[in-house]
């Protein structure tokens, strides 16, 4: 187990290295951030001075080396646009995004899996067909469009929920979150639902497929012959057997839900890290871009790690060391 963890962490470091080089090369290829930011009235002398001040006149490898040296000293840099520590800046926005993704994943799981079980258990019933039709909509209609429809319906026409923003923020164990205030929940529920749709659709279809298949296997037939009630068969045996693909997709989708959050965040004006990163890309604020991408890489590695561990718990045949 320990060896596995070390191996994973080493992989992460390699990926982070590669990411930072790619970002550096990308920004370098586009050009000088000063040219994007500088005020039209600036003179050539002012421009030149700035380029030197930010070290942008040095060759790429030297800029990269300077960056690496700073990282080793625990300094990920200062945002060129905001002039505050990048780590602080990103972490001041991250809780909002994490909280949104958390609620979205909860909604997707709590609605998606039961709905999928039902649809698989009674595949020919009318509600099951309705669930399937809706699940197709969930991942084939663009998020931003559904988001706008939701805003039009619930904020503009009905006036039940606010159209955007995060609302009152309370604190829970020193964490700033809007999930402890009523106003916060009013704000989070609509964007989180919007964000959850894609994952929900996927979970429904996956669970249903697994259910349909499992219900026809021999072990279910034997269990039935034994006189076990259906409830027990489904929840104790079938669900356990179909959960491996669900966990895999859950893990993968957690990552892409986080990535998709960018779209939902702009439609609902959610003050998360997604909006920050888009702006940083538009202004070529390199320190913020690099830091954000590094964080995302770490997050993906962690998610996959957790998924693998849960695998092993669900199916003893999967061995963390040799089995893979």
């Amino acid at each position: 187990m320990l060896g596995f963890l070390v191996q994973r962490l080493l992989q992460a470091v390699v990926v982070i290295f590669a990411m930072s080089i790619i970002v550096f090369l990308g920004v370098y290829a586009i050009g000088n951030p000063i040219d994007v930011m500088i005020d039209p009235g600036a003179t050539q002398a002012i421009r030149q001075k700035l380029i030197e001040q930010y070290g942008l006149d040095q060759p790429l490898w030297q800029q990269y080396l300077t960056f690496l040296t700073n990282v080793v000293h625990g300094d990920l840099g200062t945002s060129m646009v905001y002039n505050v520590s990048v780590i602080k800046l990103v972490f001041s926005r991250l809780p909002a995004t994490v909280e949104l993704v958390f609620v979205a994943v909860m909604i997707a799981t709590l609605i998606g899996i039961p709905a999928g079980i039902y649809a698989g258990y009674r595949p020919n019933s009318i509600p099951a067909k309705a669930i399937m039709a809706l699940s197709v909509l969930g991942f084939s209609v663009p998020t931003f469009w559904i988001g706008m429809l939701l805003v039009m319906a619930f904020a503009v026409n009905l006036g039940w929920l606010p159209s955007g923003g995060r609302g009152d923020v309370g604190s829970l164990f020193s964490l700033q979150t809007s999930l402890v205030t009523l106003d916060g929940w009013r704000h989070v529920i609509m964007p989180a639902f919007n964000l959850s749709l894609f994952m929900m659709g996927l979970l429904i279809r996956l669970t249903r497929a697994g259910m349909v298949e499992a219900m026809q296997t021999d072990y279910v037939k034997f269990a039935r012959a034994q006189g076990l009630p259906d409830r027990q068969i489904v929840f104790r045996h079938v669900l356990r057997n179909i959960s491996i693909p669900i966990v895999t997709v859950f893990g993968l989708e957690l990552g892409s839900t986080l990535a998709f959050a960018v779209v939902t965040e702009s439609v609902f004006n959610w003050p998360g890290v997604g909006k920050l990163i888009i702006d940083s890309i538009l202004q070529l604020d390199r320190p913020v871009m690099v830091t954000y991408l590094i964080l995302v890489v770490i997050l993906f590695v962690l998610i996959n790690l957790v998924v693998d561990v849960i695998y092993a718990q669900l199916d003893p045949r999967v061995r963390l060391k040799g089995g893979k």
């Binding site: 586009i30 050009g31 000088n32 951030p33 000063i34 040219d35 994007v36 930011m37 500088i38 005020d39 039209p40 009235g41 600036a42 003179t43 050539q44 002398a45 002012i46 421009r47 700035l50 930010y54 060129m80 646009v81 905001y82 002039n83 505050v84 602080k88 800046l89 001041s92 926005r93 706008m148 805003v151 039009m152 904020a155 503009v156 006036g159 039940w160 929920l161 606010p162 159209s163 955007g164 923003g165 009523l182 106003d183 929940w185 009013r186 702009s266 439609v267 609902f268 004006n269 003050p271 909006k275 920050l276 702006d279 890309i281 538009l282 202004q283 070529l284």
Partner: protein
Amino acid sequence: MTKSFLRSAVTALAIMAAAPAVYADDLIIGLRAGPDSIDPHWSTLGSQAEALRHIYDTVVDVDDKLQLKPGLAVSWEPIDDTTWEFKLREGVKFHDGSDFTAEDVKFSIERIPEVTGPMPMTLYTKYVDSVEVVDDYTLRVHTKGMAPALPNDFTRLFVVSDGTSMEARNEEFNSGEAAIGTGPYKFVSWEPKGDLVLERFDDYWGEEPAWEKVIRREIPDDAARVAALRSGDVDMINYVPASDYLAFQNDDSLETFISDSIYILNIAPSVKDEEPQPITVNGEPVDGNPLQDLRVRKALDLAINRDVLVNVVLEGLGNPANQLMPEGFFGYSEELGPREYDIEQAKALLAEAGYPDGFEIDFTCTNNRVPGDAVVCEALAQMWARLGLKVNAQALNGTVFFPAAAREEYTMTMSAWGTLTGEAAYTYGALTHTKDAEKGFGNFNRTGYSNPEFDKVFDEGTQTLDAEARKKLYEEASYIAMEDRALIPTVILQTVWAADKDTVEITPRVDQETRAYEIKPAK
């Protein structure tokens, strides 16, 4: 247990459904962009200045047509060729209760070079050589050479107390600790990309603002901003997209406010000996650069139907432009008439220049800088196609466009330019003057345009303190550059605000700023 849970759940739902309380003395504004920092000396960005104006005053202020008016200085005049004297306002208080004096202005000017970032404020102090405090309310600024535009530069000179830190510690400002100005509003809270919350300052020297509390909410997404207004989450918004503007016209509960902006979409043809991207006829690069020929540039100009651009392409939210600045600005040439549209004459000119069958040319623009830039770009390509040209129009994100434009990699571009200071030196000095690093002119002259006659007239203008005489010289310079088609202006963009009809009354500003203290409650 179950019952009490049910009851609390019902109560919770009821509260969730209840609309948030609205106070008449509060104003919530949805804005496309907000500040990057609360340090007023950090960045020159327009959205930064607009937001910080509420907290800090500038030495000179501008009215809604961008003409100078007193700010912290009540009057100013040149006392010799290199000295400006400013008389300052008496009885002004900072938010912490301390008195405002000339020392604070001197300190602010000297602080700028120490703390400014990649959008440098030094731009506004570049002519300052030294600052002399004569008495508490008299300040003399000694300039490097003659600096007739100094008062214009000082419209962006925000004044902080001389007790402020000389270092750029934006965190101190963002937390509110150092955010102390003399402006109409006091800082309450802000976070990057989030809400800027302001509270009325009772000891303000000027007219008392109507709103006790102001929240400036940053909502960059156009659709989200419109939804916020429609759902009543905000009282008013800026930068209403053209499509929603039409819908708002039919909505009785909303009022729209429209104004010319200072932003004009200009075409910049490269007139260098060798064009950066080849111009071709039947795939073969042509000899020399056709754009060097004035007849070709005139043909390009004549083939633009500006009425169509305004009425069809921009859905009415614009005006035809005939020079690089809106009418009424200092140095606007009255001699220049409206630009004509005459495709036949354009074709004739092109044939006369030796291109009866046209040529193929690359045309690059921005697509996210100002509303309508990409559509105007495509429309222009089609208009020139009628002239017989093959135009490869490419609309790019500003992030890609600006660095490449700075490297002068494009043969012909179009982008927006705004005369932020309200006078010609800013625009013509940067765009059409011969590139001259020493004098600091032509920094954004990427076409290689150089006309000694223009330079002579313009330079004389920059060395003339007498306002009337200078104005005449700038008008002449504007005329020369425009007759030369150094750049080809197309349309002036307009800006639209929208507000809840019962709440807010707005006087639109040509600089696009949304100033809460100038906004009145609806009667």
